[in-house]
Amino acid sequence: MKRWLQDAGLQLAVSAASVAVALAAGAVFILALGKNPFTVYGILISGSVGDNYGLGQVIYKATTLAFVGVAVALSFRAGLFNIGAEGQLYLGGFMAAWVGLQFDPEKPYAGMWWVCCLAAFGGGAAAAAVPAILKATRGTHEVIVTIMMNFIVIGAVHYFASSRYDDVIMEPATTHTWELPEAAWLKSYKETFKGSTANSSFWVAIAIAIAATYLLWRTRTGYEMRASGLNPKAAEAGGVRMRWTMCLTLLVSGGIAGLGAINFVLGNKGYFEKEFSAGAGFLGIAVALLARSHPIAVIPAAFLFATLSEGAVAIGQSKEQVPGEIIDILQAIVILFLLVGARLLDRAIAAWQKSRQKAVRA
């Protein structure tokens, strides 16, 4: 059997085991409340992927998570931790709307959606630029800077998205901007999915995941990213442009996270709304983790978390009197077990390789 296939199998086993353990822990919780876990999990499934509407909602939620997941996975591969996806997503969304509003609504330009997508990418990259530049020039640790940037970016966006700019950007007495011209909208799949918010930005997410995979494993830049993540000292000795690579990785990662905003802004509402990201920037980190930092694996991981989130809504609305927040707890347990499981797996692989080397020598 090929090595990579074995590896992939092991990685999958860890992810699956973590999810299974979390579901079991959730079942204990539900039993403690005196409810039947099978009924509750039944609602989770039927309320999410059970019908066309639910499936559409899952696709919609998975799309944003997939963008953020790919962004974070890319930074993980280069040994960086982009925890600023929430802010990048936010600025991406605002920039997409702001740029879209600069067009004359009377004379719509057919390629406008494309420009707005670029603006979203640019907004995300701009939010990541501060940690990227500080990392490259002064070696400042990107984790704290990206956390701080989340709050700075959100504060700055709220400054511009306030009643000060009523009439210009914001629709008065609302928390959202004016609606963008229809030329900026992405294709909605409302009819197929019975009024749900799924839209064509899902295909963009898949394209980005494929592009990120190509970048990482088929280009020089990607090689440099992975090398600096696996062993920075060896990479530097081998001639990898460390500063440039770290800076570029964070910028691209931020851009991809920012692009995730098109799902809401161009695909769903047609405007930027305050608080639209709703923590997706943090949940996306969990998605990247579940996918073991592989951009392609991010897609199914995003679907899993989206199913859980959508199912939580159904559980909360059902007659079972189980708060939907049980799913938040479940998601946290998935992450914690993934962390521990990944660690144990790495140890097991190392031990296995050692024993095999011994066997070869003997």
Binding site: M148, I152, I327, I329, A332, V340, A342, R343
Partner: protein, 344 residues
């Protein structure tokens, strides 16, 4: 030395800020000027600063304990909300706010234990573990609130009694003294700051905690328990920060889900800005509390301030401190690194 510099820098920034905002007031005309002046130079400003700083200070003391021992703790946010929930729920059940306040500590230690277990025993990534704990705490407390009160926020809970009654007609100074000395949790916070300072700089345990954050290998060579010390640091941080959560709940006599509202991250920023020193972190918290108080008071005086931008000040200052333009903040050397025994 570092401490004196931190304090000097903090004082400098406060002065600069005050000057800047007074100039803004000047430009905006005499009424705005009077309002700005009144907002800064008054005892009620001190009172507001004290009250707003309490949760930051308690959480930052927690962050200091954990990070000095080498464990990054972004779970402070989750610990705050856990403390708030525990104190509200226990007050609701027992009817005694004192028991409720005390209950925050074991609850905080418990949630911090999850972080310690993942990061120290299983050597998991400290940032991700912290995020997971935050998710867990926010979800679990909202879940719990729905079970206890049937909604995502609590009914009104009993107020924590003050040591002596406040005279409602008292002037600014009397109110400030009352806040400082008669509010039990403010008094407790002041005592805890002193205790944390003593612990971290004057006791064997404090020095060992610091050693394990700087060079875990050396600590291990001395035959001291690396894991045990790190557990101590993280669990202590849970106790401190959870009290901050209790303050949040008692301050508004209610628990509401997500009421920590990013305060844990501000506290984390204060730890960095205060250079991982308990007094430095406290000074940073007072600065952040003062800027918040100032902004709220200007708004109350209906002076137009870009509150969204002023609100980002703690985060901006933290980045500046990290970059090292004004006295670089240097983290403990082993911060964020799980300890691996050599040769294992």
């Amino acid at each position: 030395m570092t401490l004196r510099r931190t304090l000097a820098i903090t004082a400098g920034i406060v002065l600069a800020l005050t000057g800047l905002l007074l100039v803004i007031g000047w430009v905006r005309g005499p009424e705005a000027r009077a309002a700005a002046f009144g907002a800064i130079v008054s005892f009620s400003m001190l009172t507001a600063t004290t009250r707003l700083s309490v949760p930051y200070v308690l959480a930052a003391l927690g962050g200091t304990s954990s990070e000095r021992a080498g464990v990054v703790n972004i779970a402070l946010e989750g610990v705050l909300v856990t403390g708030a929930f525990a104190s509200a729920a226990v007050t609701h059940w027992t009817g005694s706010p004192w028991v409720g306040m005390a209950a925050a500590v074991p609850a905080g230690v418990l949630i911090a234990y999850v972080h310690a277990l993942a990061t120290v025993t299983f050597k998991a990534d400290q940032i991700i573990s912290g995020l997971a704990v935050n998710l867990l705490a926010l979800g679990a407390t909202k879940f719990g609130a729905k079970l206890v009160w049937g909604k995502p926020h609590s009914d009104n809970i009993a107020k924590l009694p003050t040591i002596w009654e406040r005279d409602p007609d008292a002037g600014g100074l009397a109110t400030f003294v009352h806040t400082l000395l008669a509010e039990p949790m403010v008094l407790l916070t002041i005592l805890l700051v002193a205790a944390a300072w003593l612990l971290h700089t004057r006791t064997v345990l404090g020095l060992r905690l610091r050693a394990v954050g700087e060079n875990a290998h050396a600590v291990d060579t001395l035959g001291l328990p690396v894991g045990g010390l790190r557990y101590t640091g993280v669990l202590m941080s849970g106790g401190f920060a959870a009290l901050g959560g209790a303050w949040l709940a008692f301050d508004v006599t209610q628990f509401s889900s997500g009421m920590s509202a990013g305060k844990g991250y501000i506290a984390m920023a204060a730890v960095v800005f205060g250079k991982w020193h308990p007094l430095g972190a406290t000074a940073a918290c007072l600065l952040f509390g003062a800027s918040e108080a100032f902004q709220l008071r200007l708004q109350a005086a209906s002076v137009q301030v870009p509150s969204e931008l002023v609100g980002t000040l703690p985060y901006l200052l933290t980045i500046v401190a990290l970059v090292g333009l004004v006295g670089r903040a240097r983290p403990p050397a082993s911060l964020g690194v799980a300890y691996e025994k050599a040769g294992a």
